[in-house]
């Protein structure tokens, strides 16, 4: 009996030692990002080097809705840099993008590297996102990423599952000619949110049919981000949403401006027909709008003769700074990319994601593409470069600026858009589901429309909405990461 007991004890100690030895080895592996929490800082301090790329012949597939010719150009450049890697561009229709990805995933054909559209819950729930924490954190180039973009993609706060891949800032266009016509000074590039609101009012001249502003992007998205130094829509401070202050203020402000005619009549309405003589005319092309709340991609469009010939001179302004803000946080359209959780070459897939997204080499190639790529008729394909860099590299930003119109407005703009804040859907679990089920499809139908129509007051429902969105986030984190 005693011998038996001793044998069991010895065996137990033996296996314990082996297990301890094994776990120690695993913890020291540089590519493993999932260690005990106390070890994380030590590992970071050790800053393991990014593991070497394979030299074997491999093929990686890539899918994004960016310009296909640009994608092919970048793929060529990547293959020049890594001759042993073949990149295949997977073409999918942008309409129903996530549905197409779902179909590909169901047949085991999810691309090695891909962008997902809008709702991050879909790739998380279906386990499409490969963990890039170890690569990202040991990559020296990660230090160059715009400061507000570094933490994007850590959906659960621990694992980096996606990374910003394209950046288009919110942009406010002011019609300089209209300002001159009304003898109103153009605001400073460092204008504040309050100044913008006042200017909208000031620039509204009903007797001349001039409206203060028209929206594609919304005040209600801007205000909480710029005024609360937030890290996301609806006043997201990194832990909680808060719609009770700037969201409610800006929503009521907007509703009041819509009702009082500071905002231009909405597209395809009787009011638009009465004001412009054509209900289907875009308000920004009438020459009677002082500010168009829009995005960076409209810059090229506003330079077209259609607008210039009508006497408009749209100039870009960054979203104004918050009245008491400490940061330069501004809302932005950020597209996210990820590597497939099933890719056989995660290290190389990460490199491809970086090259097409934020990497300096990739951006150097992009700048070359913007200058070189032509349409079949010989005209330049990118009259206006596509998006802004995601890294803080002076060379790249200067290179981009050279491709843009040489104006003080543009240079002022570029200097002030280096702290972008991603919109909620693609970057916060539960956000899009909240929008679908509560914000745009809940008790009040479309909450914003209900407030504008005077059916509800933003202040009355803001606390309830705050509670619900926080609850949606918590539930999403529990439900999605199973």
């Amino acid at each position: 009996m005693r011998r038996k007991l001793s044998f069991i004890l010895l065996s137990a100690i033996f296996f314990l030692l082996i297990a301890a030895g094994c776990s120690d080895e695993t913890a020291n592996e540089p590519e493993n990002g999932e260690g005990e929490s106390d070890n994380v800082s030590d590992e970071k301090a050790a800053a393991p080097e990014l593991e070497a790329m394979t030299t074997e012949e491999i093929t990686l597939s890539y899918a994004s809705w960016a310009n296909h010719t640009l994608n092919e150009f970048l793929a060529e450049k990547f293959m020049e840099k890594y001759p042993n890697i073949t990149v295949e561009i997977v073409q999918l229709e942008q309409d129903g993008w996530n549905d197409h990805l779902t179909n590909l995933a169901s047949t085991g054909d999810l691309p090695d590297v891909y962008w997902y559209m809008g709702n991050v819950d879909i790739p998380i729930r279906n386990g499409w996102l490969g963990d890039i924490t170890a690569y990202f954190e040991s990559d020296p180039e990660s230090d160059d990423i715009l400061v507000t973009m570094k933490d994007a993609g850590y959906f659960d706060g621990e694992q980096k599952l996606a990374a910003p891949a394209a950046y288009q800032p919110y942009t406010i266009y002011l019609d300089e000619n209209l300002f001159n016509q009304l003898n109103v000074d153009m605001p400073s590039a460092d204008w504040t949110y309050g100044e913008m609101i006042d200017l909208m009012q000031e620039m509204t001249v009903p007797e001349q049919g001039i409206y203060g502003y028209n929206t594609f992007t919304k005040l209600v998205t801007m205000a909480p981000i710029v005024n609360q130094d937030a890290y996301g829509e609806f006043g997201w401070d990194g832990e909680q949403y808060d719609l009770t202050t700037d969201w409610a203020d800006s929503m009521n402000q907007h509703a009041e401006y819509v009702r009082s005619g500071v905002h231009a009549p909405f597209y395809d309405t009787d009011e638009a027909e009465a004001a412009f003589g054509d209900r289907l005319l875009w308000a920004a092309s009438t020459g009677r709008i002082a500010m168009q709340l829009d995005a960076w991609w409209t810059m090229g469009l506003f330079a077209e003769p259609e607008f210039v010939d009508k006497g408009m001179k749209w100039v870009p302004y960054p979203v104004p700074q918050g009245d008491n803000a400490q940061s330069q946080h501004k809302p932005a359209f950020i597209d996210f990319g990820a590597i497939s959780s099933a890719t056989e070459h995660p290290r190389e897939a990460y490199e491809l994601l970086k090259f097409f997204g934020w990497g300096k080499d990739g951006w150097t190639a992009k700048l070359e593409a913007f200058e070189a790529l032509e349409n079949e008729d010989g005209s330049l394909m990118f009259k206006h470069p596509d998006g802004l860099p995601l890294i803080n590299d002076e060379e790249i930003w200067n290179g981009l600026q050279e491709l843009l119109p040489q104006s003080e407005y543009v240079s002022n703009f570029l200097e002030r858009v280096k702290e972008p804040i991603a919109l909620g859907g693609a970057s916060h679990p539960g956000f899009q589901t909240f929008l679908d089920e509560v914000y745009f499809g809940g008790e009040y139908g479309d909450v914003e429309a209900a407030i504008i129509n005077g059916e509800v007051n933003a202040y009355d429902i803001s606390q309830n909405l705050t509670d619900m969105i926080n609850q949606y986030r918590e539930e999403a984190l529990e439900e999605l990461f199973w």
Partner: protein, 284 residues
């Protein structure tokens, strides 16, 4: 037991349909029922299931606020559209059954939408406004209707006027079915009735309608199933949306599809019992 050669030939001829039915109907049905009992994830390495019992079915009723709403709207719509389509089809079929010039041409014209306006084409036509009547002012119709009916009912009738062209386009197959049965009615019956002094109106009620009654049932069923499966149907769209929704997915969407199928089946049963051929009572 020896299988007859004719029986074998029979099975041989229907084998393409049998294979198609087993692979493309029965198997997906079994799959979707299995999906509906699970929470399902489509990972790059394969499908993952988490058994949920009948929770998805409960969630369809308790969590999706649009399902009940769309379902009620759909039932209201079909209660008007199905009779309109079937009656229109019958009238056109009777006209096409008359000996008129260019009879073949007319028949082709009325059947053409079935071939042309299907799938994406109809979606495009609708989005381009080709299926609305430009002269019909929806607001005027609605304001008149609201004087007589409550708003919810007036809206349904108003929508019927607005989409009248597309509704009538849906009647091609029904016209064809009615035409087939009308041609089968013995002309001597009409002749005998006429000799006895029967008017056209009386002939319709006493001869035509009783003869084609079983076909009316078929057309009612066909029309209801067609409208229920139409790509224009908001419930189909809702099921599709849920299929790709992050927190719902295939399991939830399958449960919704099954609930919807069950309700349609109940409606079909109701139609069947109302319009079925009743056995004549035995005379004592």
């Amino acid at each position: 037991m020896k299988i007859k050669r004719k029986t074998l030939y029979g099975y041989l001829f229907i084998s393409p349909w049998l294979v198609g039915f087993l692979l493309l109907v029965l198997w997906p049905l079994i799959q979707s029922f299995y999906f509906s009992l699970n929470n399902m994830r489509i990972t790059p390495t394969g499908l993952q299931f988490k058994y949920a019992g009948f929770n998805n079915y409960l969630d369809v009723w308790l969590k999706d606020m649009f399902f009940v709403q769309e379902l009620l709207q759909f039932m209201l719509n079909i209660s008007l559209r199905v009779p309109v389509i079937v009656v229109f089809a019958l009238i056109i079929a009777m006209l096409l059954n008359e000996k008129v010039k260019f009879q073949g041409g007319f028949r082709t014209i009325f059947f053409l939408p079935v071939i042309v306006a299907g799938g994406p084409v109809i979606d495009q036509l609708i989005s381009q406004g080709a299926t609305t009547v430009p002269m019909v002012n929806q607001d005027v119709i609605l304001s008149i209707l609201t004087q007589f009916f409550p708003m919810w009912f007036a809206q349904v009738i108003g929508e019927l006027f607005n989409q009248i062209i597309i509704i009538l386009w849906y009647s091609g197959v029904q016209i064809l079915i009615f035409l087939a049965v009308l041609q089968k009615i013995d002309p001597y019956l009409y002749e005998a009735a006429k000799i006895d002094g029967g008017s056209g109106w009386e002939c319709f009620w006493k001869i035509t309608l009783p003869t084609i009654k079983p076909i009316i049932l078929i057309n009612l069923i066909y029309t209801l199933v067609f409208l229920a499966n139409s790509s224009q149907n908001p419930i189909i769209h809702l099921i599709y949306t849920n299929m790709f929704a992050a927190t719902r997915g295939y399991g939830f969407a399958s449960a919704m599809a099954w609930m919807y199928a069950l309700i349609i089946s109940v409606l079909l049963l109701i139609i069947f019992f109302v319009f079925r051929e009743k056995k004549p009572k035995r005379m004592i």
